[in-house]
Symmetry: C2
DNA sequence: CACAAGGATGAGAATTGTTCTCATTCCATC
DNA sequence: GATGGAATGAGAACAATTCTCATCCTTGTG
């Protein structure tokens, strides 16, 4: 039994703490975006985040949602996923992990880092250093 | 000593054969796109392909380049890569392999499938079947 | 507790990669 | 050489994202 229009949200206090730990000023809108984004492990588009923030009764603009997500991404509060050419998804789980992507439904499912062994990693090209590894396992509904 | 404006191209006959093997009618424009795309292992955007086809003196439109790349992609002649939210890259190497992506320069480098061991693959979610695995190793210029 | 000063916000325009429309052109087949 | 269906292309349309810049907040200061 869920109250319509009242999705689960991360508590403001927890969001404020997360932002301040990364040196991000905890403004009204950033906290509201964070309450939606950090509610649970999930993968949301900018549009979905905007919808949900508006649904919780807050007032935010599209520009601020994008500003905020880009800032969160720079500060390591969110991971940006590009799985197709359409839109990006924002992933509150920043620890290393991977994804199943259902090409038919668009669904994204987390794969814990330790559920997938990457052996014999090739050395990065000369003059470069590893930053992060993304594994996307594309699946079809069968 | 390279002749300016005359980049290396795949021979028309080879391209025609590739297309016909996949049941794709070998029209003038499709063959020209193929000559650019199948010239060597590489990763080009639609715009780069258009530029190069025009540079070889052929007449093609943007719409046809996109039509052709989407058709090639459906027929398994090219693999589409989404590495950031900006544009897609088209990869003539359709056999399984992976990529280094230099986030500073935008450079994409192939990693042969056998240079990277993926052990203990998790089972696909119920009701789905593996389609393909993409590993992208993001690196920074250091 | 006013009060700057700089940072954040937002309405809407701009940008850009990609798709769509549909009239025209091409091509395989007869 | 005709012809019917597929392919092409100019340009409009779309959609995700960014930009502009006037207005609004925050935060520290007096
Ligand atoms: Mn971006
Ligand atoms: Mn596409
Ligand atoms: Zn995830
Ligand atoms: Zn490749």
């Amino acid at each position: 039994m869920s109250t319509p229009g009242t999705a689960q949200l991360a508590p403001r206090a927890r969001v404020v703490e997360l932002l301040e730990r990364r040196g991000v000023t905890a403004t009204q809108q950033r906290v509201e975006v964070g309450q939606v984004l950090f509610a649970c492990p999930q993968h949301l588009s900018a549009d979905q985040i905007l919808e949900r923030v508006l649904a919780m009764g807050a007032r935010v603009s599209k520009a601020t949602v994008y500003n905020t997500l880009n800032l969160f991404s720079e500060r390591g509060l969110v991971r940006t996923l590009s799985i197709d050419g359409d839109r990006q998804f924002y992933d509150p789980t920043t620890a290393p992990h991977h994804h199943f992507y259902n090409v038919d439904t668009g669904e994204l499912i987390d794969i814990p880092a330790d559920a997938l062994a990457l052996a014999s990693l090739p050395a990065p090209p000369a003059g470069t250093a590893h930053e992060r590894i993304d594994v996307i396992i594309r699946v079809r509904s069968s």
